[in-house]
């Protein structure tokens, strides 16, 4: 329990070195040790998606992923991706469509949506619904979230035409 392991990772562009307990989850390390409060804890068992972060460009559940697993990897949270501008189009669409209420799911929802936009640029409304089904939102009823993501997809398609 008291054993600590040295780790090094790049978090939001900064090299981070730390010694941590092997049992520490990535989301706890980000929130408690680095003060990155964007990823949230909703269920701590991988069901709700509020803790979603990126590791080496791929989204993971920060509550199921141990911090030591991220050793030597690149980790991005909503804070870093916002600063990089990766989420700007989605964030604008979410604000315009009111695709959030309490905001607790938003960081996870945005990271899931960003991956969809990268990987499935041709996604239909039904496919968007399916893709974000790993992210729980109790407030919105999802309709406006789907609207916002579709807006970004459509704008992207128009640009590439």
């Amino acid at each position: 329990m008291n054993q600590k392991i040295p780790i090094e990772m790049i978090v939001n562009g900064n090299t981070i070195q730390a010694e941590i307990e092997p049992r520490r989850h990535l989301v706890d390390f980000l929130r408690e040790d680095l003060g990155l409060k964007g990823p949230h804890l909703g269920c701590e068992q991988g069901a709700c998606g509020a803790c979603t972060v990126r590791v080496d460009g791929q989204i993971v559940r920060g509550c199921l992923y141990l911090a030591v697993q991220a050793n030597g990897k690149v980790v991005d949270t909503v804070e870093g991706l916002t600063a990089q501008g990766v989420l700007t189009a989605l964030q604008n669409a979410f604000l315009r469509r009111n695709a959030m209420q309490c905001g607790f799911c938003s960081s996870g929802m945005l990271l899931s949506a960003a991956e969809l936009i990268e990987q499935r640029p041709e996604a239909t409304r039904e496919q968007v619904r399916e893709w974000i089904s790993g992210n729980y939102c109790r407030c919105t009823g999802y309709h406006s979230i789907v609207d916002a993501i579709m807006n970004v997809l459509e704008a992207q398609r128009e640009q590439t035409e």
Partner: protein, 798 residues
Amino acid sequence: MNKPNDLAGLALDPVTADQRYIGESEPRYSAKRLLEGQGTYVDDLQFPRMGHVVYWRSPVAHMRIIKIHSAAARKMPGVLAVVDGVQMATICKPWVATLSHLAGMKSAPQHALAIERACWQGEPVVAVVADTRARAEDALQLIEVEWEELPAVVSMLTALDPETPLIHPELGDNLCFSRTLDVGQVDEQFATAEIVAEATFSFGRHTGVTLEPRCQIADYNPGDGRLTVYHSQQAPHMMQDLYCRQFGLAESDVHVICKDVGGSFGIKVHAYPDDFATVGLAILLGRPIKFVADRLESFTSDIHAREHQVKGRIAVNKQGDILAFEIDDLTAIGPYSMFPRTSAIEGNQVVNLVGGPYKHQHYRAQLKVVFQNKTPTCQYRGVGHPIACAVTEGLVDLAAEKLQMDPLAFRQRNVIPDDAYPCSGASGIKLEILSHEQCLRTIEKMMNYTQLRQEQAKLRKKGIYRGIGFAALIELTNPSAAFYGVGGARIASQDGATARLDPSGVVSIMVGVGEQGQGTEGIYAQIAADAVGVSIKDVRIITGDTAVTPYGGGTWASRGAGIGGEAVLLAAQALQENILQLAAVILKRDVADLLIRRSQIIDHATGQALLPFTEIGRIAYFRTDTLPNDFKVDLMVTRHFAQRDYPFIFTNGVQASYVEVDIDTGFVKLLKHWAVEDCGRVLNPMLVDEQVRGAIVQGIGGALYEECLYDDSGLLRNGNMADYLVPMANEMPDIEVAHVQTPTASSKLGAKGAGEAGTAGAPAAVMNAINDALLPFNVKVFDQPITSEKILRTLGKI
């Protein structure tokens, strides 16, 4: 004036001069930070010397506590304290949650930490505090409690049987509350009616599942005896009052702060035993203590709701006129009535609301609210409405079917007509003005009803079973003191707003109603910007702080827009008047010659800009020497508003659900959902639409998926988000929302509440749609959640 209006067709008269924001789909600018991961939820806060508490909770439904062994836990690294119920009771008084206007209601004293007995699985018994959450949890494993399991009352159906053990022997029985309402001649109506339909409706106990769990940080400063509580809560002033009373503190020494709240839905409007225990620990230890429920704790300690069984019947004449309703409601609430709103309100609402949209004159209702050894239940979004609506609308559909009348036409015939208001419903509820007829006409058009029926018939021939279900509804909003205050609960029905012109010309608004995500701060900014006459970018809204905002009730019973919004309007208008008077003095002009437009004082006659707000601010705050000695500068005003004309302002609406039932698997596919909502003046259509949709999805959750499942010994079987099913995006339909606007005349703003109608109507609409799909098989299901298994059983397939 006070007549239903279509939002698309007739615009309402503006509330303010130069109205730019009220009624518009203005984005919530203050929510941008939430999209950037920059919110401040309670768990995001860290303080020096902060301890973390975890609770040892009863692992069984009912037990006698024999001995608590905590020596091993106390020796664990980082442990600061282990506290039991006896020690906690030396500083925190027990409570009994009853309301005097619910005649005969009873409950037993409840403690912050259980003493002698624990009465449900999840009741907190021992608190373990350590310097980190992980170390507190490590130590928790070493707490050993010797207990003797006591017989548990699990099923509400047998809770009142003579052989069932009593949970609180001193109460004499397991009955918390009962009520009978009989407006007369019900037996005669049923005896002579040509059509009588009846059914028994069951509702599974479910819970709110806020994505952010309940959480708080309590900080007691022994130096000045002041308590500060950061709380994810809907009613900060209510908690201030409760903390001061249970701990014997002065009201002025208790400060409750609610920052961002990650969803509430009624879950966070109650005072939980662990709320008091966490505060007690802060007082005992003289340091900040953080409590954040984990998800299992949420499922076993957040309030549950809606465990009801209702026998209902309806009497109708052969012309198709509803003559009478009768219901018998049995509901179970756990071992204690919840503090301080009580757990009898939900059943009481069912009695008040059944038959609500209709013009029948005869009604009888019986209600029994019983104790059992499960998690306490209390007010959760919709509070009784989803039950009352499902019973009413289920019976209405049964009657229409017996009459062989179209269910929409049957409703159109029987709703209280739009020109009949004000009037009273059969249960005695006072209805100011509603628009059932117009809402039904609107939804008929919106869903293309005739064509949809044709499509349904065509597909049915191909073995595809689709159903259309309706739910007409009323919703109680904008409550007066009749809800809680008259029953002795110190829960404010009034709310206040302070409007202040800052030196820079920015308008700051402080309001007692807080933000839980529904957009209250957004609409307050819209109202204030229009009423003072500034850009919405020059308005700041401050909520959720008992030391800062006027005293108010907070967020519940869909009161944010109608009560809080009216307070903001009154305060902002008063501020505008004061600004004009000051401008008149500065400009040496008559007030009547001046106007305010967009942060400028304008010459009424010429339209010329005379003085910007920045100058008003500069002179008012820094150059009072230039003003006449006898002139009083008041650039900060407070106004309060309470509903007084009616006990509640009811809203109405109608929903329709279109589903497909796979008769081989029992799966229900939700194809589409429509809602027409009349919440009076719509302050922000985009926000209201999303409120309605979110509420509908919550209602669908209860109708199809969500249930807290207990085994025979009273243990929760599915206390996690993988086994307790909540609606996810993939199963949910697109939801089309339209509005009819019938403003309430009880306020200037004319806004009614919109937060709960979606949840009220959705279960009924979905249930009726499923039963419509099953019509060819001559079977029906009235047992929510309507799972695939129940559908297959109904069909005789399993």
